[in-house]
Amino acid sequence: MDFGFKISPSSAVNLDNVDLSLYDRLAEVEPDIRKCIACGSCSASCPANRFSGMSVRKAILGLQRGKEKEVAKMLSTCMLCGKCSMVCPRGINTRHLILSICKFYKED
């Protein structure tokens, strides 16, 4: 029966259901991905950020939370200028990381 409203799915991220096998394989090649401290320097310096919402921080978080599709979509707006690599306080080679992410998550 249609009552004019419906039961909505939960917005909660359920970590039990996140499959990290691909992420873990990526981390073998790019161990520095795990070093992100979510400081946001990358997003703040990203020239694409204000137009597309591109953010390496969010991309890394997205992969850790099982949102591969959103991440792939976001990364397609990256221009690989490398500014984020210059500002990362943890010295992550973000440019290299982005390329690796694209490679890994394209295979699927």
């Binding site: 029966m1 009552f3 004019g4 409203f5 419906k6 039961i7 909505s8 939960s10």
Partner: protein, 356 residues
């Protein structure tokens, strides 16, 4: 689960509830949807336990629902409440007991706010005088009606004709307790047992022979959300929250649910029907739902009152399977009759949820 750990917390949150002489105010929602609960409350307190409970015809809504639907300013709800206090003062009472949890939270919040900002109390006193020419004393004690049934729970157990036990197996019934959010979440010290493991209903269940179930979403709101139900467009919020609770309690196969809030039994009862119609899912045995009760209805049942005198015919989820489990007798033919056996026909049966 370590039961003693809860006992330790319960010991920290016991209230000194006065024993007698109460000024009683009613609940809008309960009068509409579970009128038998309030009738039972006064019946038990006045006639069974011989306590003094005064009711004045001039009391009104506390305005709590309108306030929490953001339709009236804070000063308005405070002055309505001040008028209720004035009626109590004029009747010569100091202990104030309300039937509604929204009211209870409303009264406590207002008294606490006045404590912190005395200038606001002064302003409200002026407004009340201007509008109604009334003055008031603040109650010495504000209780929720469930606090009193909790206090009297063992007296009720002594007089009980039935216990919350499955008569076929001899096992205690598995009971889910649901506490209204505004009972103690805002002021944990104001609730029996505090906010995280309230004892007010657990105490009744234990005293009357049942077993309390603690399930993961126990503390979660029933999904009322005030405007999230009163506006039809928002009811997805309401049913989604109730749905989440039922999914969480389902593995424990509860026999019944007891609540101490006006809205909660309405939503937990009605949304079982709606979930069944929308998704084809039922949570009780054999296609029935899990019956949901107010604590007074349960007190009435254990004391041996007729289920239809208690108004259990107004529940959408059928209560008969539970009555059979406990061994309470009832006349199915009289379920939907009016006074003096007047024929009122019968409600239609739902499409999915099994009912009697």
């Amino acid at each position: 689960m370590i039961y003693q750990g809860k006992q330790k917390i319960w010991a920290d949150y016991q209230k000194e509830i006065p024993d007698d002489h109460w000024y009683y105010v009613r609940s809008c929602i309960r009068q509409n949807f579970f009128p038998g609960a309030e009738k039972m409350f006064l019946e038990i307190c006045r006639n069974v336990l011989k306590k003094d409970f005064h009711e004045n015809e001039n009391h009104t809504t506390c305005g709590g629902i309108a306030y929490h639907c953001d339709t009236i300013p804070q000063e308005t709800v405070m002055t309505i409440v001040a008028r209720q206090f004035a009626l109590m003062t004029e009747a010569g009472y100091e202990n104030y007991v309300c039937s509604c949890i929204t009211s209870f939270g409303n009264y406590i919040e207002i008294l606490e706010t006045w404590n912190e900002f005395p200038e606001l109390e002064t302003k409200i006193r002026e407004m009340l005088w201007k509008a109604c020419r009334r003055e008031f004393n603040k109650p010495k004690y504000v209780a929720h009606a469930s606090d009193l049934i909790y206090k009297y729970r063992n007296l009720i157990a002594e007089r009980a004709k039935f216990r919350l036990v499955n008569k076929h197996t001899g096992e205690p019934l598995k009971v889910v307790e649901h506490i209204g959010c505004h009972y103690s979440k805002m002021f944990p010290s104001k609730g029996v047992g505090g906010a995280e493991y309230p004892y007010v209903l657990c105490g009744m269940i234990e005293s009357w022979g049942g077993n309390v179930i603690d399930y993961p979403e126990r503390r979660h709101c029933c999904g009322y959300g005030f405007r999230q139900y009163h506006v039809k467009a928002n009811r997805g919020y309401s049913i989604s929250n109730t749905h989440k609770k039922f999914e969480s309690m389902e593995p424990y196969h509860p026999d019944m649910i007891i609540t101490n809030c006006p809205g909660c039994p309405y939503f937990m009862d009605r949304w079982q029907y709606a979930i069944a119609e929308m998704e084809g899912k039922t949570y009780g045995e054999n296609g029935y739902g899990i019956p949901v009760f107010t604590y007074e209805e349960v007190a009435g049942l254990v004391l041996g009152y007729d289920p239809w005198d208690l108004g259990l015919q107004l529940h959408q989820v059928a209560v008969e399977p539970l009555l059979d489990k406990i061994g309470i007798e009832y006349d199915p033919a009289r379920k939907y009759e009016g006074v003096n056996h007047k024929d009122l026909q019968r409600p239609e049966l739902p499409g999915v949820l099994r009912c009697c």
